[in-house]
């Protein structure tokens, strides 16, 4: 994939046909060589770029597993026949499919294959002298000539001053001398930097995908702690391909409080969580007593050495205390799930096993679950709903269930609900339904008391680890710099031929000066610079002939339109 701006000397898409000769080995070699040439040609790069764009599109139009599993499930329900077919080609995880990888890897190979010869060519050109002055400068797109005062040597001295900073060479020619100058090599430098950095960017991303991980965990904002010691501590964990969950950096987080500010219409203004943390070094050094303070908020993650901790979400955890008739007491506090993200109406299930019962079967049958809805700002009335996300008038509409929760079944169950099959089978029975505000207590039929103590907030934290991130950033900046250079610098050539032109009537030497200019880039607009050089050398009134057609034109080179 060569870059757009400068056309390489030999168009790669039209390689010279290798001589056809019989012989298996040679044929294979020729085939390989042609395949390589084909792959590294600009046309192939163009096709691959199109494929890449086309292949990415479904990633935006179809639900993706990496973003939202529920939407994918929904799609399967909505399109029962189409979805499995799409799934077969990986349409729900486009960016992890082998064929997507194939496209960008081919593109990278094409890029490297195109860059290598280009870089060599570039180095060669850097060492060579600027190309000799063409015999017929009138054929250049920019051309001017005239007779000026001064001997050729004086004129040449002026030329040298004008093209200071250009790469230039002077040559003796029959009857005079010429200067060839060129400028704008940075364009090619930028071009190379851009493409090489793209490869570097991809390498950085790959490192992140291999060795990075992402874990989410909910922590109560009442001084509860979370330690990054194993993936078991997380509610969900997405490891990189080479991450097995061991050897995590063992830092610890303690969430002291959470606060949300809202506008009167319920729109959140800011979320902040006050926390203490211990870095992995602290923990390894055995210093578990001191906590460093930090405030976590949206857009302001906690940046540790290798990990970053983000505040993703928040919610409420109502606290209930159950007092059994025998005086045994248990307090439960677990996160309830927000079901409405604007009012934070939440639902959940706080589960209790009856303590102090030796018999397994009896203990199992006398578990209690408190399920229902929690409104941070209750609407009041019989049917509780939430009208505001902040904790202004909390109320819980609960069902108290008693019986077998199925906690000992060995099967996992949702922390947000009770096992419906137990309700259906009659093993779990509703024994009360009540709307409660904090501090309120109800007594069940058997004398068990259930009290709604208070509400605690919880925060959802994400821990991210991406060792390739800095590499990606550095190369992204280089990509930008390279792009800027390669699109803004103009590569151009300028030639001057000076021959003696006799003497003026006063006997002073005169010279005939011929100028030629050629922009070697896609970007037009060399004309102004050429016009300036021409005016400096030949004077403002000097006539120009406009290149190939030789048609007379106004004083400027019209072809350069809008520079």
């Amino acid at each position: 994939m060569s870059s757009p701006p400068t056309a390489p000397p030999a168009p790669p898409e039209a390689p010279p046909q290798p001589p056809r000769r019989p012989g298996g080995g040679r044929a294979v070699l020729a085939l390989l060589r042609n395949a390589w040439r084909g792959l590294t040609s600009m046309r192939t790069a163009l096709v691959l770029l199109f494929l890449l764009a086309l292949a990415s599109l479904p990633g935006a139009l179809l639900p993706q597993r990496s973003l939202n599993q529920q939407l994918v499930d929904q799609y399967f329900t909505d399109h029962p026949r189409l979805a499995p077919l799409l799934d077969g080609v990986g349409a729900f995880e486009i960016f992890a499919t082998p064929w997507f990888a194939a496209i960008y890897l081919l593109l990278m190979i094409s890029l490297v294959g195109c860059l290598t010869p280009r870089s060599l060519e570039y180095l060669r050109a850097m060492r060579q002298k600027p190309v000799a002055t063409p015999r017929n400068l009138a054929r250049m797109p920019h051309h001017a000539e005239g007779v000026v005062d001064g001997a050729p040597d004086e004129v040449l001295e002026r030329v040298r001053g004008l093209v200071k900073g250009w790469r230039r060479a002077e040559r003796e020619e029959a009857g005079g001398r010429s200067v060839s100058a060129e400028r704008g090599f940075l364009r090619e430098t930028g071009n190379l930097v851009f493409h090489v950095s793209l490869v570097g960017l991809l390498v950085g991303i790959a490192v992140g995908k291999l060795f990075g991980y992402e874990g989410q965990v909910i922590v109560l904002a009442n001084g509860s702690q979370f330690c990054n010691t194993s993936i078991l501590g997380y509610d969900s964990f997405r490891p990189g391909l080479r991450v097995d969950g061991t050897e995590l950096d063992p830092f610890c987080i303690r969430v002291d409080s959470f606060a949300a500010e809202y506008l009167p219409n319920g729109q959140p203004e800011q979320y902040t969580a006050e926390l203490g943390y211990q870095t992995a070094e602290d923990v390894r050094a055995g210093d578990t007593a001191t906590w460093r303070a930090d405030t976590l908020s949206v857009n302001h993650p906690l940046r540790l050495d290798g990990e970053r901790v983000y505040l993703l979400n928040h919610g409420y955890a109502p606290r209930f205390t159950v007092t059994w008739p025998d005086g045994q007491q248990r307090t439960g506090e677990i996160q309830w799930q927000p079901v409405d993200t604007t009012t934070y109406l939440s639902q959940g299930a706080t589960k209790f096993e009856r303590p102090g019962i030796a018999d397994d079967a009896t203990r199992q049958r006398s578990s209690i679950a408190i399920t229902g809805l929690f409104a941070p700002t209750s609407s009041g009335g019989q049917v509780v709903t939430s009208t505001f996300p902040d904790l202004l008038a909390p109320e819980a509409a609960i069902d108290v269930m008693r019986g077998d929760l199925g906690l000992d079944d060995g099967r996992g169950q949702s922390i947000f609900s009770v096992d419906q099959s137990k309700v259906d089978s009659g093993e779990l029975v509703r024994v009360a339904r009540e709307n409660m505000v904090p501090g309120q207590e109800i007594t069940l039929d058997d004398g068990t008391k259930v009290r709604f103590d208070d509400v605690t907030q919880w925060v959802a934290l994400q821990v991210s680890h991406d060792p390739g991130q800095l590499t990606v950033l550095v190369f992204a900046i280089l990509v930008l710099l390279g792009l800027g250079l390669s699109l803004s610098v103009k590569r151009r050539r300028f030639w001057v031929r000076v021959v003696p032109a006799g003497e003026d009537p006063d006997g002073r030497a005169r010279s005939r000066v011929e100028l030629g200019g050629l922009a070697r880039t896609d970007r037009a607009g060399y004309g102004e610079e050429f016009d300036r050089l021409r005016a400096e050398l030949l004077g403002p009134a000097a006539g120009t002939t406009a290149g190939t057609t030789g048609a007379p034109a106004p004083a400027t080179s019209r072809q350069d339109g809008g520079d």
Partner: protein
């Protein structure tokens, strides 16, 4: 954070004022276009690469060279230019003046929105669609100003730049309109200023080459003849498209990188193939393909123009469809 209803009201008024003046400007440019002198009535010569210019010069896509092919269209006779301004010229000048006035009103509208809400005024679809239109119009005025001396005949294209901008502004003022209000916590970051401003500017800039490429294709096809005859030379349009694209593309690249840096701070990863990110990537790849096409034999002219149009389509698709239809992290359109 309170919203100043007075300032917000004035902002809306200025927006309507700008819209009205843009409509007027478009009418003036339309008159200019219709009454402008037909150029190149002779079937246009197909621009082809010049014969080898020097040993190394071949293949270098110097547009100056291509433009040379049309140098035989005679410049307007001096007498005609001196004999008072033609109707086209008068209307064109007034069109430009009106556009400048509208741009000032438009800018005022956006500034007042920012003052009313005490935040950077790029927080919802209405606001950044409006800003994209402003960017497109400013880009257009800059193009006019920079080409005024050398390339005549660009000015009457005003009508074609104004038309899509007016459609966008109309949509912004009706379907997308959102009351002035503060933004959600995720948007409270100075990266909003960096990322959204640059992406808005780049999107606005991309409108100009998109329009130029469409006109270029029409000019090349020569149909409908009466319409295309009045267009500037094909290579002028092509060059306009290229030169604005090479400004917009690095800006767009910067905007995407800035977005990635912000995403790292806000969402925990710099790139996550969120629908908006995906289509931004697609658009970037299309514009990269455009630049490559311009150096690929057989794709240099018509192919490249089509790709540029496709790029603008991707940008617009990303602005509307992704924000309004697809659910993603970028769904802060302030709609429904």
């Amino acid at each position: 954070m309170p919203v100043d209803p007075m300032l917000s009201e004035y902002s809306d008024l200025l927006f309507k004022g700008a819209l009205t003046v843009y409509v007027l400007a478009m009418v003036f440019h339309a008159v200019e276009y219709v009454s402008s002198r037909t150029r190149g009535a002779v079937p246009e010569k197909v621009a082809h690469e010049p014969a080898a210019v020097g040993a190394r010069g071949t293949g270098s896509a110097d547009l100056g060279v291509v433009g040379e092919e049309n140098a035989d269209v005679p410049p307007p006779p001096v007498s005609a230019r001196k004999a008072g301004r033609s109707r086209a010229d008068r209307f064109g000048r007034m069109g430009v003046s009106l556009t400048i006035l509208a741009v000032l009103l438009h800018l005022g509208s956006i500034v007042l929105r920012g003052l009313a809400t005490e935040r950077w005024p790029l927080g919802n679809m209405y606001e950044f669609t409006s800003a994209i239109c402003l960017a497109a119009m400013v880009a257009w005025l800059v193009v006019l100003q920079r080409t005024a001396k050398r390339t005549r005949g660009l000015r009457k294209l005003g009508v074609f730049v104004l038309a899509p901008v007016l459609i966008l502004m109309f949509l912004a003022g009706t379907v997308l309109y959102a009351q002035a209000a503060p933004v959600v916590p995720a948007l409270r970051s100075y990266w909003l200023v960096v990322h959204v401003t640059t992406v808005t500017l780049a999107s606005g800039l991309f409108v100009v080459p998109g329009v130029a490429s469409i006109l270029y294709l029409m000019k090349r096809s020569g149909k409908p003849a009466g319409f295309t005859a009045k267009l500037p030379e094909a290579d002028v349009l092509d060059r306009l498209a290229y030169r604005v694209t090479v400004v917009a593309f690095p800006m767009y690249t910067f905007a995407v990188i800035a977005g990635a840096i912000w995403a790292e701070a806000a969402w925990g990863r710099f790139w996550g193939w969120d629908p908006k990110e995906t289509v931004a990537f697609v658009a970037w790849v299309i514009y990269a393909a455009y630049l490559h096409a311009r150096a690929t034999a057989g794709w240099r002219h018509v192919g490249a123009a089509w790709i540029n149009i496709l790029g603008l389509a991707a940008i617009i698709f990303n602005l509307f469809f992704i924000n309004m239809v697809v659910a993603g992290l970028h769904s802060y359109a302030g709609l429904g």
